[in-house]
């Protein structure tokens, strides 16, 4: 720990206001998503506690019928927006993190295999990656989402929606991981410590996972952070289009979609606050990722 605070990395962090602010925002958002149960004044998923009379209450104004006030207003169902945003943030972050995790495991493994084994396997994996790169990843995610929903029985669709969402975003973002890892693997495998490992008879998997993997993980961390922002936006886009998180378990994207219906009738807050939250989250994750990339890339120093 003491070593960390003395490092160049921490020094660079302290000197960068952007990094500090974006990290604080991210940590704040993650904490409020984790602690949503305790922070949120109401449970937005408990249909029994909702009072339709509270619908369309403006922020910080008492409701005309019930006299209740809500920090960020309510939506058409009388749901407290502040609570809905907290729980939506949790869904968005969960889907984003799991999708990045999936993309990372898949991409790193395929990249390691392509780089280390080479030959036709390398060609196959990397051409597949090239083909996938020619489609926008949101299109791929929608395709996978559609196919998966078609395969699932109707009664499971609502339950499995989040899982399917994670799978489709994860599968659409593995390419960047694979490309970077393949490149560094090809550099590392020529080094003599790999030859030394082959000399004592280790097999390919042992060499790839125990020797090469720890040495190619540096850039992966950076890509994971930048991909997290992409995944959160992809999730919001899918949910906005109505193919993502269901209405019963709304993410930020779902909330924006609901708000969009009322934007032109004057209830601006239903759209604005979830959208601002999404903006702040995606922007700070992205800025932090950019800063990480600039700091950890030796060629830019």
């Amino acid at each position: 720990m003491h070593r960390f605070f003395d490092s160049d990395f921490f020094y660079a962090f302290r000197r960068s206001p952007i990094a500090i602010v974006s990290l604080i925002v991210v940590v704040f958002m993650v904490l409020s998503a984790l602690l949503a149960n305790f922070i949120a004044p109401t449970n937005p998923f408990d249909a029994a506690s909702l009072n339709l009379m509270n619908g369309f209450t403006a922020p910080m104004e008492p409701n005309a019928f019930t006299g209740e006030t809500f920090l960020l207003g309510t939506d058409d169902q009388g749901r407290d927006l502040f609570s809905a945003i907290l729980f939506g943030l949790r869904v968005s972050l969960f889907v984003g993190l799991m999708a990045v995790g999936l993309a990372m495991v898949l991409g790193v493994l395929l990249g390691l295999i392509a780089g280390y084994v080479g030959g036709w396997l390398d060609t196959l994996i990397m051409r597949l990656a090239d083909i996938q790169m020619t489609f926008p990843s949101i299109l791929i995610a929608m395709l996978i989402f559609g196919v998966a929903r078609g395969l699932l029985p109707a009664e499971l669709r609502e339950e499995m929606a989040i899982t399917v969402l994670i799978l489709s975003i994860g599968l659409s973002e593995w390419v960047n991981f694979a490309r970077t890892v393949r490149g560094s693997t090809m550099v590392e495998k020529e080094k003599e410590y790999v030859a030394a490992a082959r000399l004592i008879g280790l097999n390919r998997w042992q060499i790839m996972l125990r020797h090469i993997l720890p040495n190619v993980l540096g850039p992966v961390l950076v890509i994971a952070t930048i991909t997290l922002a992409l995944a959160i936006i992809a999730e919001a886009t899918l949910s906005f289009l109505g193919v993502g998180a269901p209405r019963t378990e709304p993410s930020l994207g779902t909330l924006i979609r609901i708000g969009q219906d009322f934007l032109f009738s004057g209830e601006w807050w239903i759209l604005l606050f979830p959208a601002l939250t999404l903006l702040a989250l995606a922007l700070s994750v992205n800025l932090f990722g950019d800063w990480l990339r600039d700091t950890l890339n030796p060629r830019l120093r």
Partner: protein
């Protein structure tokens, strides 16, 4: 029979364009003969040096002797056992691998930067099932570090905390960890300062006396060779042009190529 025997060793590299490009541009295959019918024998407990300029095939031979590369033709036998014998099962292969180890050229690339020295040194023990139990392994690591002139506490450090010479010592300790009989040294000192070179060479020499090691020394440095080797083979473009005992080679070289090599080297005074 000698301990290490290389017989009619050949290795060709295929530098051709991909098949489809070759057919379209009507080019023939381009093959490079890196090693061409090389024969040599090394007696147990002695040092044999292969010298030659860059691209003469020295490192290719080293890689074939340790089994990192398969010969295109010919064979290498260690203590009567053929290295390229495909009928060996995994256990027999491991038993043979344990007896041949290598010290690499670059002290910076030959140690995994993410592993602690103790883990680097105990890995061969685990791979060859030599020593069981963490405590016994730690004791053996300490012993190895002491043998190469380092301290027990270095086991907990990472490679980047050491100088080039110290890393080369760790590399030697790793080679010793599997209790080998033959060690191939592929330019072990060429990345080091001259003063450090002498220390590493002296270490290798005393280890040879202590454990009866057989060395195959790959180098372009004739000063290194003159202090270490019993016998020298001179390689030129993959062909072994001359082979003599060390003293004879320096006093009466037979081939023009050898004379040229000797005259190109900085003059060395012998005190012994």
């Amino acid at each position: 029979m000698s301990f290490v025997v290389a017989k009619d060793l050949c290795r060709t590299f295929d530098l051709s364009e991909p098949w489809i490009v070759r057919k379209l541009t009507m080019q023939p295959k381009r093959l490079l003969k890196a090693v061409d019918h090389v024969n040599f024998e090394i007696e147990r407990g002695t040092t044999y040096a292969l010298v030659g300029e860059s691209g003469s095939g020295k490192s290719t031979i080293a890689n074939m002797v340790v089994g990192l590369m398969q010969p295109s033709a010919g064979s290498i036998t260690i203590d009567g056992q053929n290295l390229g014998n495909a009928s060996m099962n995994r256990q027999e292969q491991q038993r043979l691998r344990r007896r041949i180890q290598m010290v690499f050229q670059s002290p910076y690339a030959s140690l995994n930067p993410r592993w602690k020295v103790g883990d680097i040194l105990s890995e061969p023990m685990r791979a060859f099932n030599l020593i069981d139990g963490a405590t016994a392994q730690r004791r053996r690591v300490a012993e190895l570090l002491e043998q190469v002139g380092m301290s027990e506490t270095d086991a907990g450090k990472f490679p980047h905390e050491f100088s080039g010479g110290q890393r080369q010592r760790i590399s030697i300790a790793r080679a010793l960890a599997s209790q080998p009989e033959v060690i191939i040294c592929d330019e072990p000192t060429s990345a080091l300062d001259v003063s450090v070179q002498a220390q590493v060479l002296n270490l290798l020499k005393s280890l040879q006396q202590d454990f009866g090691l057989t060395y195959l020394f790959i180098t372009h440095d004739l000063a290194v060779v003159s202090t270490m080797a019993n016998k020298i083979g001179v390689l030129n473009q993959g062909v072994l042009v001359e082979e003599q005992a060390t003293v004879d080679l320096f006093s009466k070289p037979q081939q023009d190529y050898t004379k040229m090599l000797l005259s190109a080297a900085p003059k060395i005074e012998f005190s012994s």
